[in-house]
Structures are given as structure tokens and as C-alpha cells.
């Protein structure tokens, strides 16, 4: 029988604490029968979301909570990344794949890949303001054979 349940992970809004959430998410995904690659994809997606909350919602200021609610269901794992900072502009549009010209490294952007990674490595993504709280929801499906 598949294991189900919910856990809430809370860290202070410090970049050097994000590994705690990432490591926990990876272990939870592995326990929920995701492959090593799928667990990595979930981990990096949640880490990008938490980084965004710290950098943009809280302007890199420590002393604020970032909460990650992980719900393991029969066929999916849902991650809700919550902050109580500034609400981000959200179009809901999937970012295009990066354009890379190996002959023109000067034009390569150093940043801006986080949202693309989240979209690519999860099955659904949503961002909403709920009262004073911003909630970024990421969904990762558990493949049927693995969920059974």
C-alpha cells in the first residue's frame, strides 16, 4: 500500500539554510518511490522556489519564515512553498527554452534559469496570494508503476 502523509518544513529566510529543505525533499521523494533522477528534479525545483522566496519576496533579508508543505499522495507529491513577503509578478506562462549560441558566450545570461527549471522538472506549477501568504505550488507525479 502506498504511503501518504504531509510534513511541514520551515527554515529562516537564509540562503545557507536552503540545503536543509532540499535534502529533506530528496529523501521524502526517494521514500515515496521516485527514482534518483526524479527525486533530484523535485529537490532542485523546490530549492529554486525557496531561493526565489528569499531573494525576491524577502530581498535576501534573514529573520522571516519560508515554509515548505510536502504532501505525499498516492500518485503525486505536492510541494507548497510559502512566504509572507512581497508578492511576485506571475504570468503563469511557461518560460521558453534557453537560447544558447556556443559561438557567442558573451551573450549567455548568468541567471534567469530558475523558473524554467521548475517548469521543466515538475508536472504542474501555480502561484497564488492567499491572505498575507504567497504560495508557490509544485506537483510531481509518481509514475504508476512506482506508485503501485
Amino acid at each position: 500500500m502506498p504511503q501518504t502523509g504531509t510534513i511541514t518544513l520551515t527554515i529562516d529566510s537564509r540562503i545557507d539554510h536552503v540545503f536543509l529543505v532540499g535534502s529533506a525533499v530528496n529523501k521524502i521523494c526517494t521514500a515515496a518511490a521516485l527514482s534518483e533522477q526524479e527525486a533530484y528534479e523535485a529537490e532542485v525545483s523546490v530549492v529554486e522556489a525557496v531561493n526565489n522566496a528569499i531573494e525576491h519576496a524577502y530581498d535576501n533579508r534573514a529573520g522571516h519564515p519560508v515554509e515548505v508543505v510536502v504532501t505525499v499522495d498516492n500518485d503525486r507529491i505536492v510541494f507548497q512553498v510559502c512566504d509572507w513577503g512581497r508578492t511576485l509578478e506571475w504570468t503563469g506562462e511557461r518560460p521558453p527554452a534557453p537560447i544558447v549560441n556556443a559561438d557567442d558566450t558573451a551573450s549567455l545570461p548568468e541567471g534567469g534559469r530558475g523558473l524554467f527549471i521548475m517548469y521543466a522538472f515538475t508536472d504542474a506549477i501555480d502561484y497564488r496570494r492567499r491572505g498575507a501568504k504567497n504560495v508557490l505550488t509544485l506537483v510531481k507525479h509518481v509514475p504508476r508503476a512506482q506508485a503501485a
Binding site: E48, N51, P98, V100, A102, A106
Partner: protein, 112 residues
């Protein structure tokens, strides 16, 4: 940021000794590579064999070094595990960097 550097026949082998190349550690790698490039190291083999996690910040630090090198130098990757490779492929940075299974092969490629 813990790094190990070794100059081999004009090639700088730079090994990342951290398990995570993320927003916490990326700035340290970026600064170190900038320092090495400014000191005249134009050929760098970045050894990622100890790294188990990279996020967009870590990729950004590596891209920053590549941009500084421009057409005068080269930066190649060695020892990356499958999950790290998936990040390079997803972001198409595998089109920018030559990636080798073994760092020794990465160093050898820069000697040629």
C-alpha cells in the same frame, strides 16, 4: 567554498570539494574562477566529481567564468554525475561546455 587547484602544463585543474553547488556556494566558486582568470589561467578544467547537487546559481557561476574567458580561453567540465548532467542538458549548457566523464580526460583535452 572549498576548492583544490592544481596547475598541470598550463591547464588549471579546479576541483570543487563541496557536495552542493548552490546559492550558498556559487559566489565562492565564481570569485575563485575570476581570480584565476585574472591571474592568467586561460584553460580551466572544472572537476565536479564531488558535487552531488547544482542549481541555477551554480550553473550561473560556471557561465560567468566562461564569459570572462571569452574566445581567448576555454573551460571544460569533468566528473559530473548523471543528475548534474541532466541540468546541463536541460539548460542547453552542454552545447557551451565540453563535458567529460573523467577530469583527467578534460585536462588532456585542454592540453591539445
Amino acid at each position: 567554498m572549498e576548492l583544490e587547484q592544481q596547475l598541470e602544463n598550463g591547464v588549471m585543474r579546479l576541483k570543487v570539494l563541496e557536495r552542493r553547488l548552490d546559492a550558498r556556494t556559487a559566489a565562492g566558486l565564481k570569485d575563485k574562477m575570476a581570480e584565476l582568470i585574472q591571474a592568467g589561467n586561460w584553460r580551466i578544467a572544472l572537476d565536479l566529481s564531488q558535487v552531488q547537487f547544482v542549481d541555477s546559481s551554480g550553473l550561473g557561476a560556471i557561465v560567468s567564468a566562461r564569459k570572462q574567458l571569452g574566445s581567448n580561453g576555454d573551460l571544460v567540465i569533468g566528473g559530473a554525475c548523471d543528475t548534474l548532467l541532466s541540468m546541463f542538458k536541460l539548460t542547453r549548457l552542454d552545447k557551451v561546455f565540453r563535458i567529460f566523464n573523467q577530469t583527467d580526460d578534460a585536462v588532456a583535452a585542454l592540453r591539445q
